[in-house]
Symmetry: C4
Subunit: 204 residues, 4 copies
């Protein structure tokens, strides 16, 4: 008797990959050599720590929203499987791009490269999101405006980086802040479920 | 009261190992030192990124098919346990072989070594696959032709690499493309389950 | 039909991240070069091993208590999600701080930095703990005294490190020992559940 | 209403840590620099690969047997929690010891150190195993003879390594082979459950 492929394993695998990605970045944070003074060392590390924080928040956002996206999933099609792997591939480049910025400095080229990786992740997310929503016959999780705006900001950051790397980093940070707010679908859920809470409801 | 060993834990462990393998490869992608120009740096990285992509896709394929393979599993025998670990061991050599290619270049020797690791993974997969199918008394997941053809292509790539490393890489890429298509068993399942969907069926 | 976000996935993701954090630290334990004698090599490694052990125990403590904290959780709110990610971010800095101590020695500055990271983790824990307990309408897991005392000891270790790094490390070790004892809530649970064990109880 | 701590999360966390340990070892397998010839490079790598294989098999054995050990577990006590963490700590030193052997060669000192780490793992396993079996009121999983013999062989390998490192490695390999055979308890289970298979039994 054939059974449908389980979304649970897709979620667990994605969580595993994202958990590894989000934590290996710290391995790249190199400790300055013994020769350098403590003050110089911490001054060298601080921008790295901030870029690391930005990457951590971005990966965190993808995890949170992946969570919302696959929540209603009932069957994993071949298209979902592979567009999910494409997203994970893009995300796995984030530690590498973060490392590039950390080792070669906040230059126009480094930030353009970092923006390319962010844009790639946003585009693969849009593809996965569209395929899943078509399969569950539900509207896009999160507003489609926000999704397209994010991809546009990331893509825009690529040329802007050549004029001002700091401005480009600002655009990427804006996307992060945009997504720190919960998607509307979730807000409604919480509103429906929590405060009124029908007395006969079966938790879990 | 003895209970059978759970296939769930085998799957979860395999997923964990594969998730780590697929993401640690990026750690090997070294960032060029500060001295090199940006153009030279990206030209140096590009072939690495392509080899990394090929390895990522291959590991992804193993994960997807492992998924199909263990789906019908009801009991984990000692043979399944250890042939599964043999597969995971082979797969864990992929980041090392990828790194070898990345650091020592696309030479006849590097690609031959990469092909050896790919062939090793294909052979351990064939063993695991055979043991599982004998235990579930089901035909091989995916066509046996495809499985044997893959192992043959990988083995063939070893001598070919000495004549032309690019041709050998092409053979390995052909295997990847071959497996990107869903196995027939899965197609049938999807066909059986999704479109007609008997009204009395209990999803999940 | 909207369903509440599952605490299970929050736990699984946190476990994944903590599992990676607790094991990647060992990657930082560099093996002394071939030139050095074995005795000199082991003498160089021993303090590193002890700092690694201290970090391992601390991360282990967070995992154990995270376990108790999320046990009664029924719904994951946006606040819980993000304060949990803040905790994971702080914990992911522990391998980096451990590495800093290992590579630059047990100096006042290194230990002050290590204490800052420990204090950051304690503060984010306190925030997560408070948010969760408010959401489950239960008293804080573990005594609030212990939680505040830990944060105070960590914060106190920062200036103390400038006078005596060993004393500061001692203070951090005291916190670890404090938490190795099980929280009272758990003790009561075990007492209630195990010895009397009502015959009609449904295990699992 | 207090609920008992779930063995499921202990298993999942242990699996996660073991999955990371078993795969990060490959990261330590350094690729020889570009200057060395291919033949010299592979000759340099081969002993490393064999030590890596030995470590992989050992970690695999711990995973398999951890699986059998926690199978009957109904409640996770504080003692189990911390002796499990002690085992995971010991296991996390295996990649470091493997790396030590790989980088400093198969010398009396390296193999003695490797044996110390193996012995530490065996002792913590014995402690965890004893605590769990006392809590489930079942006999030790696997024969106690095999467990004590393993610890003895590991401890014996420490002084033997000073006379002949190869002999000490052989003793460690003997332990691995000893454990590759399934524990008797499992054999009986499989025998009871599979071939006769009472028609009324409810699998799963």
């Amino acid at each position: 008797m054939p059974k449908p492929l389980s979304p649970g394993r897709l979620e667990a695998f994605s969580d595993g990959v994202i958990a590894v990605i989000i934590t290996i970045m710290v391995l790249e944070l190199e400790v300055p050599a013994r020769g350098i003074s403590n003050l110089a060392a911490i001054r060298e590390e601080l921008p790295l720590l901030l870029v690391y924080l930005l990457s951590f928040v971005q990966i965190g956002i993808y995890w949170v929203n992946h969570h919302y996206l696959t929540d209603d999933l009932e069957q994993v099609t071949h298209g979902i499987l592979w567009s999910n792997l494409a997203l994970l591939f893009s995300l796995s480049l984030v530690p590498w791009a973060t490392n590039w910025v950390a080792l070669r400095g906040i230059t126009p080229f480094s930030i353009a490269l970092y923006s390319v990786v962010c844009a790639l992740a946003a585009v693969t997310w849009l593809i996965l999101s569209t395929i899943i929503c078509r399969s569950t016959r539900q509207p896009l999780a999160g507003s489609p405006v926000k999704q397209v705006a994010s991809a546009a900001l990331y893509l825009g950051a690529i040329p802007i980086a050549h004029l001002s790397p700091i401005a480009a980093l600002g655009m990427i940070a804006i996307v992060a802040i945009l997504w720190l707010l919960p998607p509307r679908k979730v807000l409604e859920r919480t509103r429906n479920i929590h405060p009124p809470q029908p007395p006969h409801s079966d938790p879990r």
